[in-house]
Symmetry: C2
Subunit: 106 residues, 2 copies
DNA sequence: AGGAAGTTTTGATGTACGTCAAACCATAGG
DNA sequence: CCTATGGTTTGACGTACATCAAAACTTCCT
C-alpha cells in the first residue's frame, strides 16, 4: 500500500552531504518543522506555505538524498519525517545539536 | 604585541551563519586541520597547500566572521584556532559532533 | 629609508544552485 | 474511462559564491 521513495542506506550517509543539505535557509525551516520526528504531510500547506510547490519538492529531494529524511507515499499523498535514529546512529549527537541550534533562530 | 582580528561576540554567533560557514569543502578541511583547538600558522603551507593563498584567506575570513575561529596577528604572522569553548557554550555538543563527522570523511 | 615577506583586499570570471513556470505522472473518485 | 488532485520533473533564469590574479598593506630586516 505505502511505498517509500529511494533513500541512501544508513551506512552510505555522508557527513558532507548532510551538512550541505542543512545549510540552506528553506531547508533549515523544513527541518524545524520536522523536528518532532513524526511523519508530516508533504504539501506547501503542511510544510512551508511560503515556498513554491516545485521549490519545496526540490528541497525535500535534497534532504532525502542526503539521508536526512524519509518520504512515504500513500496513494497520491506524500509524507516526510526525519530519520532521527539513523542519523543518531551514524553521527551521534549531531542532529540533536542542530535542531537545538535551529530552534533558537527559527 | 599580538593583535586579534575582529570577530563576533559569543552571544552574537548565529547558528545559520555557522552552518553556512561549515558547509564548504575547503572550509571543512580547514576545520579538520584546526580540530585540536590550538593556534595554527595561517599560510597555505601550514593550513592547506592545495588552495591559492587568497582563496584560503577568504575562507578564513568566512570562518572568523561566522564565529568559528579566532585569528591572532603577531608581527606579520597570522595564527588561527577554533573557538571551541565559545561554540560549545553557545551550541552545546555541536562542534564535537561536527568534528567527529568530518574526521570520518577527511 | 628601502626592500622583502606574509596576508589581505579588490576585481574579474565561472559555476553551482535556489527559484519559478509549465509540462508530466500516478492515483483516487465519479 | 475521464477528470481532478497532489506532487514531481524538466527547463530557464538570476544570483550568490568559490576561485584566481594582481595590487595593496603592514611589519621585519638591513
Amino acid at each position: 500500500m505505502a511505498r517509500y521513495l529511494e533513500e541512501p542506506d544508513v551506512a552510505d550517509i555522508r557527513f558532507d552531504d548532510v551538512l550541505n543539505a542543512i545549510a540552506d535557509d528553506a531547508r533549515m525551516r523544513v527541518l524545524v518543522t520536522l523536528a518532532d520526528g513524526e511523519f508530516h504531510p508533504c504539501g506547501p500547506e503542511g510544510l512551508l506555505a511560503a515556498l513554491h510547490k516545485s521549490t519545496l519538492s526540490h528541497h525535500k529531494k535534497v534532504l532525502r538524498e542526503a539521508g536526512l529524511t524519509r518520504t512515504k507515499l500513500e496513494g497520491r499523498n506524500y509524507f516526510v519525517r526525519l530519520r532521527r535514529e539513523d542519523l543518531d546512529a551514524r553521527f551521534p549527537g549531531f542532529l540533536d545539536a542542530v535542531l537545538a541550534g535551529l530552534a533558537e533562530v527559527y
